[in-house]
């Protein structure tokens, strides 16, 4: 069935930080900001989605209630770290199918300190898959395995990964919503505490709390509110591919999903002017830019090293600091990416604004075992 593009009418987010705000307070702040940004009211929203991973049952419903949004279906949506973008994808598919005109999507998470738990509580340790019971696969481990393979096959170096981290922290220093706006030198990044070789601490996204919200609507409905709409024109969700020869531990088949999303939007990687991608750990930038088609396979390291992903580069990547500097409230991150692309396309990104016109962008939001690619245009 053909899918139709939808409009990103409004976005809003809280600052990402370590604090005592509860999920409803954060969701309310981001949701209100998105409604105001869109120029709509609670009564205009016909469907609601909430991305969250480890919060209470009913979190989304509590947030929508706090926003005064009544009598509509609200659904919580969990795809690990890709929850919020999947919520937006669901909303887009329903709007596209004519099931509603306008939807609000909220992503929210309060994060504990330390390694993101892969398994939550441990009811029956003895029954765990062995690799989990051993602790063989903390989250940085999956990226580390992909990174080490990339190094062995393509000559990528730790310096390449550190460069991606250094750029992320530098971009984040220009973003008032980033949790960790500090700038680090290459030496500081490479000499920071080893986590899962070759990944060091400053190549890791930190845990913090935050919320982001997005109002999506049909192109017809958008005409009431704006003459300059930003479209979500292509999207595709995915799970990992199977390749016996090359069993890369990718969360989803980004290359396949990107081809689908670009095709739906009628665009290609060469048309993109901004990219937000899932650098839960800095090697992610190098791995994902190849799959999104910005450089040939294996050349991501030199591509980043040469500055092509800088704000002033060929394809600016993670202009707001990405997960590494903004931090990673896991159920919220995908909509933070949507917001940044929207701000860049509107030309309102302040000190981190891309200096050339931004009329198209792409995001890749990856969660454990699934992810989404989305393409935007003006």
């Amino acid at each position: 069935m053909a899918k139709r593009e939808v409009v990103v009418l409004g976005v809003g987010m809280t600052k990402f930080q370590r604090d005592l705000r509860d999920v409803v307070e954060m969701g309310q702040e981001a949701g209100t900001a998105a409604l105001k940004d869109a120029g709509v009211e609670a009564k205009d929203i016909q469907m609601g989605f909430c991305g969250h991973v480890n919060q209470c049952a009913g979190t989304g419903m509590s947030i929508f209630n706090s926003l005064g949004i009544k009598d509509i279906p609200v659904t919580n949506c969990e795809v690990a770290c890709a929850s919020a973008s999947r919520g937006a994808m669901f909303a887009a598919e329903l709007i596209s199918a004519g099931a509603c005109d306008m939807a609000l999507v909220v992503g929210v998470e309060r994060m504990p300190r330390g390694l993101v738990p892969a398994v939550g509580e441990i009811p029956d340790f003895a029954s765990f898959p062995l690799e989990m019971a051993l602790g063989l696969m903390p989250m940085p481990g999956a990226y580390a395995l992909m990174a080490r393979r990339h190094m062995a096959m393509h000559g990528t170096t730790v310096e390449h990964f550190a460069k991606a981290a250094e750029k992320a922290h530098r971009n984040g220093s220009l973003n008032p919503n980033a949790c960790y706006p500090q700038i680090y030198t290459m030496e500081e990044i490479m000499n920071s505490r080893p986590i899962a070789d070759p990944i060091t601490m400053y190549m890791c996204s930190a845990n913090a709390n935050g919320s982001t919200a997005v109002v999506l609507c049909s192109p017809e409905k958008a005409k009431q509110y704006t003459t300059n709409p930003i479209f979500l024109s292509g999207w595709q969700g995915s799970t990992p591919k199977y390749d016996k020869e090359d069993p890369e531990m990718e969360d989803c088949d980004v290359r396949w999903a990107a081809e689908k999303a670009y095709a739906m939007a009628g665009m290609g990687p060469e048309d993109m002017k901004v990219c937000q991608l899932h650098d839960a750990f800095s090697p992610g930038e190098i791995l994902i830019i190849e799959k999104l088609g910005f450089c040939p396979e294996g050349e991501g390291g030199p591509f980043v090293w040469e500055g092509n992903t800088e704000i002033t580069g060929k394809i600016p990547v993670n202009t707001d600091g990405g997960l590494v500097s903004c931090a990673h409230p896991i159920g919220c991150t995908g909509l933070r990416m949507v917001s940044e692309i929207t701000w860049q396309m509107r030309g309102v990104a302040g000190k981190r604004q891309i200096p050339t016109p931004v009329n198209a962008g792409v995001l890749d939001n990856a969660g454990a075992g699934g992810g989404n690619v989305m393409v935007f245009k003006k």
């Binding site: 003895a126 903390p138 986590i195 070789d197």
Partner: protein, 156 residues
Amino acid sequence: MTADENKEKKKVSARPQHFSVPETPDGEYRLIGTQCKKCGDSFYPPRVVCANCGAMEMDSVTLSDKGVVYSYTIVYNTYPMMLLASKVPFISAQIQLMPEKAWLLAWLRYCDIDKVKVGMEVELTPFTFSEDPETIQLGPAFRPVDRSVWTGKGGD
């Protein structure tokens, strides 16, 4: 040492459905997986639906006890409640069994962390998953075939 402690404990598998522990000292440890009747691809641990072609007819098979390191990481920080948390840094390796190319994630034991490499040949070796006064539960791990990269005496 008391007579009790001296007693040979019974060795059993922590995951009997896909790892077999020999009943005699000269027997061998085995990985048990499945092979698709339609396309021939093999999997560990056993799958009932083929990841390649989607067929649901699978044979139970004994897999190779040798493989190569597809990739690896040296883990410095893992979940504190997990078995290897006290053994950091340790090597976590993604291993392709050869020749089947079924792959698994395993603890690469005994290997010098400065000498681990993508493509390194490895072989099956057991580790102690848990222990009580009567039994030792064992699980599958791997070690380098080349003993020159082993640490110390090849022990923990």
